[in-house]
Subunit: 371 residues, 4 copies
């Protein structure tokens, strides 16, 4: 099986996201890194591409022209505000695209991407990589198989404390998150909250229909929220609770989710991702281990090493690429988050902002095209 | 030091709460169990009192008359709807009272108790026993000492899954919780949520001013809520998030609290009550152990055995009695929850119900007399 | 049911062990604290007894004469080297005795106590209080019921770091532990190790037959060991591994035990005593909670409050008194550790010392009278 | 930077170890997989090589001749008994080699490999991959920097229960481990124990000098041990305790290590590899997180993603390749386990067997050439 050809926009020298995607694409030997427009500085981008041994370009436009028909997949890992333009252009030019989240800045752009992806017939995936952990897939498969009954309640948090220092007001790596000029309408909810909201939908196999939000800027100098609570209801009636914060000092990467059904409950946490905690109603809590016998297929196939040998975040990203490789080769991968997921997130962000501004009114969380 | 004389109303044979209070009162040798009206069945109550070797009475009225001036403290552990009447009568008759929560069913009753307690000059305590864990006192003392700076955010949960079985609709031990005729205006929030709300106030040393609630009956046959989310704001500006549920299958007794300040964060969980987790901003997470050197006074004095020898729930109840004994002897114990705490809880319950019915409107959480 | 009368030798003002026993005896209302020879200083002892409201004595001899026939139980909580003489005298005088561990300093003394206890017909219990945690009783009952098959292997640790400071050489609270003149032949193994060894026998319902020991004084100025490893074999063939240390800085009270049988494994840890971890062979790890439905009788009856309300060390001590009260009233309590357990510990200590001195030779761990 | 060329012997279709090495070599884009003799079945090996897109060979001899001078590194992942012959031949032919553990079956072979590696000037690394976890490197660096003082005691376990089923006697994947004809002189200690022993040396930066062993075949049909305890002393005087088991049902992959020094203690566990637990003497336990600021260099450079994004076992293997790539390019990497480590492990295995047979005699654990 020859390797698929892969290119990247963004992810230049010193970025966190570049190495994560290169590892994700290359870890399983499925993709060959072939080309990149890696930096907004054309020279730096070309130099870094040369260092990495791939074809380098000054910008995404140049790369699009030169690589047309030569790449099986392009990853877009540029600043958020550019995702829409680049993703759209590559899809229209016939590339498959993996776009970093958020897919777009507005709902209208999201609807546009969805239309372009459908028209082009190309894959447009969005990197909701937490959904690709084996134990998240196990949770989803258990819910689908009815193993906890109809889901009554889903509770999820994505809270950290890395923006808890008020004196960081001038730290450019932090400040932009709370500046509408750069971050758009939402700070913490758009950054981390949508991962949690996506996962709630993903595991429950259901869509968020309505929501009510309470946003706070606990550091008063911030224009956008650094803490948010979003209550929601899913189409199937499930009640949802989502808390996200960037001032929760002591939480490092507190992304967790609990799913409570009629006949059982599940818990998963991103800092201990290889275990899924399951309690059947009236029974004892059990620890489901990545790699144990009898897992659902989607969980079993995404494990690489034996039970209790932990697999972490970079391999969850790699799992997105595993599913992309399969999808590019024509196999169905319904766990791969696509443009619709990206659009739904963006609608939820904008509606949560509206709700918070209104003092918590319940609003329709869906994109207009799905109402 | 002679033992104080103690009596109990309720807590009859087979109850959970009776042994908990008897252990709490007797564990440290501070109180002598002297009298009781232990059962709504007069005969059973007298027989059980005889078995326990104390003076027994047919009902609380009989006991009030007979024990006037003979008891240093009476504990009221009867069904919720009777707390008001009994507590009021005993206070007026010159007894000190420890009342189980909820102190009353209505706000008006709560205001009345507060007035009677003040007029009588007697102690009226409410059994918010979680607040008496040594590590909860440590958290409160750290907040007061400014060790985490001004508190920006407090997040607390009290969620279990013991009412998760829909077929329990006819189980009398469960059903009454969701029946307004017996439970009043609120189910899960009034039962467990107010412990969490009290603890938020207690540790932050601040009062809840406004709130917005989302209630759900995830088991549709229930008239009252079995799951609730309450967002709130404290007088000092602290943002609050409180989730409580009785259908969270797999959570046994998930009462925990996180307090995030300007310069640090704290975490405590009732299932592992002997540790307090502390993270100074920019530093490493530390584990503070009950019994370690250098604890704040209020935490140190309420520990009985050495570091890492766990102390549990019954001794938290006992700590309430430790503080009561001190208060009865005239020492100041500002950590002892009193009638004001009981009243504030009741106001919060009623206002949360109103908010939830209105679709989440922000309402004043305070009792009218404190607005 | 009238309360049983209880007296204590030792446990004077400021001791840790006095309050623990008073709480243990009084928590459940089973014993009335009636008399004490509480201090080696006669005046101080009498004064403290008066303060506690009990009959006070200058020394144990005076108390023995005065209380003959008046007490249902006497607890011996004096310095280790005096346990033998006092326990023996009280048994011979017709008292039931609860002796702190170690029961004696020599094997011969232990054999003597066992004989005296048998002759007198009185109860001689030894305070291996960890064995009275509900979840330890559950483990033992599961083993007896064959739920993990024949036990192949038991692994236990009791390690802390509270003697890890070499500059403590002059601290009298630490120094005596490593001084043969005061502590006898063994330091850490005799102090903590025998709790672990007793628990291995207790849960496995089997006796240690042979052992091989490796002792170390990791702080060179210490004459006795501060770290020990003891391998052993039980009568039924079970392999045992026991590590104990007082220089394991960072372990607070690291007493845990793992039991591995033909068809399952169990784990319990004293710092989280309300859970027992169970893995059936080929199945998932399960969390057994104190207070859950379906526990074995001995575990169920020793729980006081509902599931997930933690109970801790003082209530494990109280459970010893619960079983003593039952035994005094003539009910059988086979879980109550008696003189034989005290004797076997002492034999194991002396034989481990001999083995360690020989470079790890395997030796008979049993008291001569049981060989 | 052009990629280094890499080949593999063994790791054929369906093996666990093949994918782990391919991921390890390719994850960071440092090596290009170029050639392989992947299967003892020549046809199957060639076919799998073709499928993977690399040059395929019938056996290691054919590959050695054909690839001489063309590969920068060869990984030997064949059955244990063949490691010596293949590793020796490749070193002599001028290849750098990464050999799976155990490097050899006998001490003499180990000494031979060490000599050949030195003579050839080539790199001979052994895959003690656990030593390449960032937090293990942090522990080692802290010990070296004196942050816990002189190490008094190291306690390590590597115990699982995956061979706990006695009816597995005929399961070929299990049976060979306990059959001297295939596994050599030792079962569980040679399989898992040597990882733990290596890590003790690695973190303490010291060598095991003497040891005493207790082996048991808890499943009686096994000729080799399935459970072992090894006490040891290091050259610098550190006391060591090592327990390893394959019948510890309920432990999945229980590899952990605790290091206790004069001024602090450290703990690390392979199932939660991204945290290192540190307790300064007299202070609070702290959680050191992979990726936090201020880590020692060797820990910082081997982290790929941000704090609290877990990295797992496959990336520890990848870290071995990171260090190999650097070493091949001429940079010093003193953390890379080499032939000496492989030899020391083999000597310890053989001496532990001798000690266990003698009833626990203390023996010299060192290879003859280092005595």
């Amino acid at each position: 099986m020859t390797k698929l050809k892969w290119g990247m926009i963004g992810g230049g020298k010193g970025s966190q996201i570049g190495p994560a995607h290169r590892l994700g694409a290359q870890a399983d030997g499925l993709f060959e890194f072939a080309a990149g427009a890696l930096d907004h500085d054309a020279e730096a981008g070309r130099a870094y591409a040369a260092e990495l041994g791939v074809r380098g370009y000054a910008d995404w436009q140049e790369m699009l022209e030169a690589e047309r028909g030569k790449l099986d997949l392009v990853t877009v890992a540029t600043p958020n505000a550019t995702h829409f333009e680049i993703t759209k252009a590559y899809l229209e030019a016939g590339f498959n695209v993996l776009c970093e989240k958020p897919m777009t800045m507005t709902v209208e752009e999201g609807e546009e991407i969805l239309r372009v992806a459908e028209t082009s017939g190309k894959i447009c995936a969005v990197n909701y990589c937490y959904s690709a952990y084996p134990m998240v897939r196990q949770a989803r498969a258990m819910v689908r198989a009815g193993e906890i009954g109809k889901v009554r309640l889903v509770v999820t948090n994505f809270s950290h404390g890395h923006h808890g220092d008020a004196t960081d007001a001038d730290n450019p790596r932090v400040r932009w998150r709370y500046d509408p000029a750069m971050a758009g309408v939402s700070g913490q909810f758009a950054d981390c909250g949508i991962h949690a909201l996506h996962m709630a939908s993903f595991i429950c196999d259901d869509e968020v229909e309505t929501l009510s939000a309470d946003f706070a800027s606990t550091i008063p100098s911030r224009e956008l929220e650094d803490d948010a609570m979003v209550n929601f209801r899913m189409a199937g009636g499930t009640v949802g609770r989502l808390w996200t914060s960037s001032v929760a000092i002591g939480r490092q990467h507190g992304f967790d989710i609990q799913i409570f059904g009629e006949t059982g409950g599940l818990r998963w946490a991103s800092e201990q991702p290889n275990q899924l905690i399951y309690t059947p109603m009236g029974g004892r809590t059990q620890i489901i281990e990545k790699g144990e016998g009898g897992l659902h297929d989607d969980a079993a196939r995404l494990s690489r090493v034996a039970i209790a040998h932990p697999e972490g975040f970079p391999l969850a990203v790699a799992n997105i690429y595993v599913d992309l490789a399969a999808a590019i080769r024509g196999e169905s991968r319904d766990g791969l988050p696509g443009a619709e997921a990206g659009l739904r997130s963006m609608a939820a962000v904008h509606q949560a902002v509206a709700s918070a501004k209104s003092g918590g009114d319940w609003v329709d969380a869906r994109p207009p095209m799905f109402r």
